[in-house]
């Protein structure tokens, strides 16, 4: 299993050819109280950089992008039902969707956890 992060404050947990995607703890802190989440349906094809999910806090609306290309295996219904899960467990149960990876090569160049945690200190 490997964990990657993007500069858009998303994380990707890869197991075999399956990627689980969510937003980082830093992102949920910046958003504040999350009141709405919309996750993609299984079977939807996403290309890298495409809008995949929506997350809204009291103050702000954001899109969650597909950080890599693939086919959606599952959207996290628990997050759609209880968006506050993204605040309480952003990098665990608050995941947004799972993808079957098209091209594991797209993971190259993403940050590992230590690099990401260091990078956000500079923001």
């Amino acid at each position: 299993m490997s964990l990657y992060f993007t500069k858009e404050h998303e994380w990707i947990r890869v197991e075999g050819d399956t990627a689980t995607i969510g937003i980082s703890n830093h992102a949920q802190e910046q958003l504040g109280d999350i009141v709405f989440a919309e996750v993609p349906d299984a079977g939807r094809r996403l290309s890298k950089g495409q809008e995949a999910a929506v997350v809204e806090s009291v103050k702000a609306a954001s899109d969650v992008y597909a950080p890599v290309s693939g086919e959606v295996i599952e959207g996290n219904q628990a997050v759609a039902d209880d968006p506050a899960l993204v605040n309480t467990d952003p990098e665990g149960q608050g995941w947004f969707f799972k993808l079957k990876l098209d091209n594991p090569g797209e993971l190259d160049g993403l940050m590992d956890e230590a690099s990401y945690r260091d990078w956000i200190k500079t923001l």
């Binding site: 858009e8 404050h9 998303e10 937003i23 992102a27 910046q30 958003l31 504040g32 109280d33 009141v35 709405f36 919309e38 809008e51 929506v54 997350v55 809204e56 806090s57 009291v58 103050k59 702000a60 609306a61 954001s62 899109d63 969650v64 992008y65 968006p83």
Partner: protein
Amino acid sequence: MSREVHSGPTDETQARGTPYSGDPEGGAGLPPEQLDKLPLDSWHRSKGGRMVPFAGYEMPVQYEGIIAEHLWTRENAGLFDVSHMGQLFIHGRAVAAALERFMPGDFQAAKDMKPKYSLLLNEEGGIIDDLMATRRGEDFYVVVNGATKHGDIAYMERRLPGEVVIDHMRSQALLALQGPKAAEVLDAAIPGVAQLGFMEAGPFRAFGHPLWISRSGYTGEDGFEISIPAMAAQDLADWLVADERVKPIGLGARDSLRLEAGLPLYGHDLDDRTTPVMAGLTFAINKRRRAEGGFAGAMRIMAELQNGAPQLRVGFEVEGRQPVREGALVLDGEGNDVGKITSGGFSPSLQRPIAMGHVATGLAEPGTALKLEQRGKLFDARVAAMPFVPHRYHRKGAA
């Protein structure tokens, strides 16, 4: 994740009436050194306030979280620093009559120490700002919005006779204590304030300084607005939050509280193309003034009072859970553009999305079903009576 789209008052574009897109900090790319600091700047930071640019100041948008702060204010007492607002002392010969040139209130008959909501109007009847004006003897104490204060002063100075003077009270801070427990808390520090009724004000003393306190606010709750010398503001703030019923509350909750209370926010729900009739603020146009006119924009405003305005400010209850925010379009059953959303968000008290906007007058009746369009998506909504959450003001004579 994308950069966020802001809605609500956490940036200094509010006075321009344009929705602002920016980062979660409301950064606006302004270097911090161009922003003013509140007298309580370091106090806010020490309390965990997340500071964002707003109205030219760095201001706390939240401390522990908007929803928790919002609900705390509805149940206990919240302390707001609104020192960015402009506090003006207007005095000189025949000041009351002079103010009536550009405001539709009856200032000549205004009773001492009774704050009145009023509107600064342009010659076309558009709203330059909304404000509170209180007679203090022969003079008037006026509180205007922070983002508009410099423009307001310039506008009034151009139109006031030479013998009327505006003092901008820059060394005064303004704190608001709001919520059902505000009166019992504040009366312990400043005996006598609980005797004030809603929309009454008066001079008090505390911490060795003179204060001006009015029973008013911007949350729909009972509460007070306290004008205090900036040098004494921290003493009062410390004293208040030492009481376990009081927590500091940021701009984020201030916005969600006032939206639930149906109170308009200048630069969003009101602007210089909105008349008092369109804004549903005709209560601010005094009876004598309606008969006599003689204020800026009177021709148009009196015609609209007679014949109605083409559009009105209304509330919306939005179906589903997704907030619909400023800038969304209002559509009728045929898909025609019939208005726009000027404020919107998630109501922490009602646990649902609510919004405020302008809509064609024929569609402004509560219950009217309309569609809202945001980022290509349609939402079902109904025109709703405001306030969304009932006001709980302390009216004298009422139970």
